[in-house]
Symmetry: C2
Subunit: 224 residues, 2 copies
């Protein structure tokens, strides 16, 4: 696989993240680039879901992916292997991306030639939910093996998300996971949250997720 | 199930956590109480593993469990249901426990009548690894559905652990997870780390983990 660019990003604690996130959204509106933030626990299937989704979108949109990790570049290399622009952000030990860190990543992309940038955030259900990256929409993946009680334990993550993907639906028979219960728990946290059941491994309902993204990008382009 | 005590703990950023952690270890040595810190991603099976392990240990040791979560008390209630002393620590949104927060939890336990206190840390592979709780040993659970590449992406977690439990070994046939590869990846991060393969659900090798804990407590008692 090709070499990927690794950006060592620095975290600033001195500026208000909310202000920076709003400034970043204004900048992206002017550039007509839609930014989506994808979050989950480690191992929920973010990269596999992205790989399958990018396959359905890459001929319709000009896309780049920013892979945020503490260390390694395995994910950025995987994305690059399906011919989508991809950069690796190393967070210097930080457990999340904030808006300034996101901006540092975006500065390494040719935004004039992009419709959509997807952030694959650090695998973590806590901190990434606390820091607005400047994205227009937040999506999170909860996988079946993690359990249907996660919206009770990690409330903020479910509050800030516009869409929850319930992944690894192909292994549901091997785990004690109740689909009605998880929807109830998610709605308890966030009445307006959309939910799609997927199996990234088996390409199940990935088209629904791809269409959701396409729809968001089209609405954004109409508005700006 | 019984009501459980919920402690709202406060985080102090003003003192050196390392100093506090060492002070806490001195305090616990004097009290002859062994403190173990259990970490993992959300949904790796920390609580189920603890429930099965406590069943094997509770007649041999006087044990209490401190359940750290952002919100909810579902885990503390489960531990209490097997007749083990259990308190819930609410971290006030914080993604980890530090030594002062741990001390606040311990102040709510009758340490003169305990051999072992187990912390179930917040589900997170990043931040809990950065903050020494004052525990004598760190244990983490990596579950099969999370993938064998996690030691590459979350290096510090694997560096600070004395023992890694590879859980959900019962579902290995449904996931692309290589047992030799994960051991290799763990050893890359931490040559001295012990590894036990378990299925908490099926009680597989839980006796090995229980014996590991018993051995650690006995060594600690001999030394102090």
């Amino acid at each position: 696989m090709d070499e990927v660019r690794i950006i060592e990003i620095k975290h600033s604690v001195f500026k208000s993240n909310e202000d920076e996130a709003n400034k970043l959204r204004d900048f992206l509106k002017a550039k007509k680039v839609f930014l989506m933030n994808l979050m989950s626990s480690p191992g929920s299937g973010k990269t596999t879901t992205l790989l399958k989704t990018l396959a359905k979108l890459k001929d319709k949109l000009k896309i780049a992916v920013m892979e945020a990790d503490i260390d390694s570049d395995v994910d950025a290399k995987k994305i690059k292997s399906v011919d989508v622009e991809s950069i690796q952000l190393h967070t210097g030990g930080m457990c999340h991306l904030d808006a300034l860190m996101t901006k540092q990543g975006l500065d390494n992309l040719d935004l004039d030639n992009l419709d959509l940038v997807i952030i694959e955030n650090v695998g973590n259900l806590v901190c990434p939910a606390e820091f607005d990256t400047g994205a227009f929409k937040n999506v999170m993946i909860l996988s079946i093996p993690e359990g249907d009680d996660k919206p009770l334990k990690y409330p903020l993550m479910f509050q800030v998300c516009d869409l929850v993907l319930i992944n690894k639906i192909d292994v549901i028979n091997y785990f004690d996971f109740n689909l009605n219960k998880v929807c109830e728990n998610i709605k308890k946290r966030n009445q307006n949250c959309e939910i799609i059941f997927i199996s990234a491994k088996n390409d199940e309902n990935i088209d629904k997720f791809a269409n959701w993204i396409l729809n968001q990008v089209n609405l954004f382009k109409e508005d700006n």
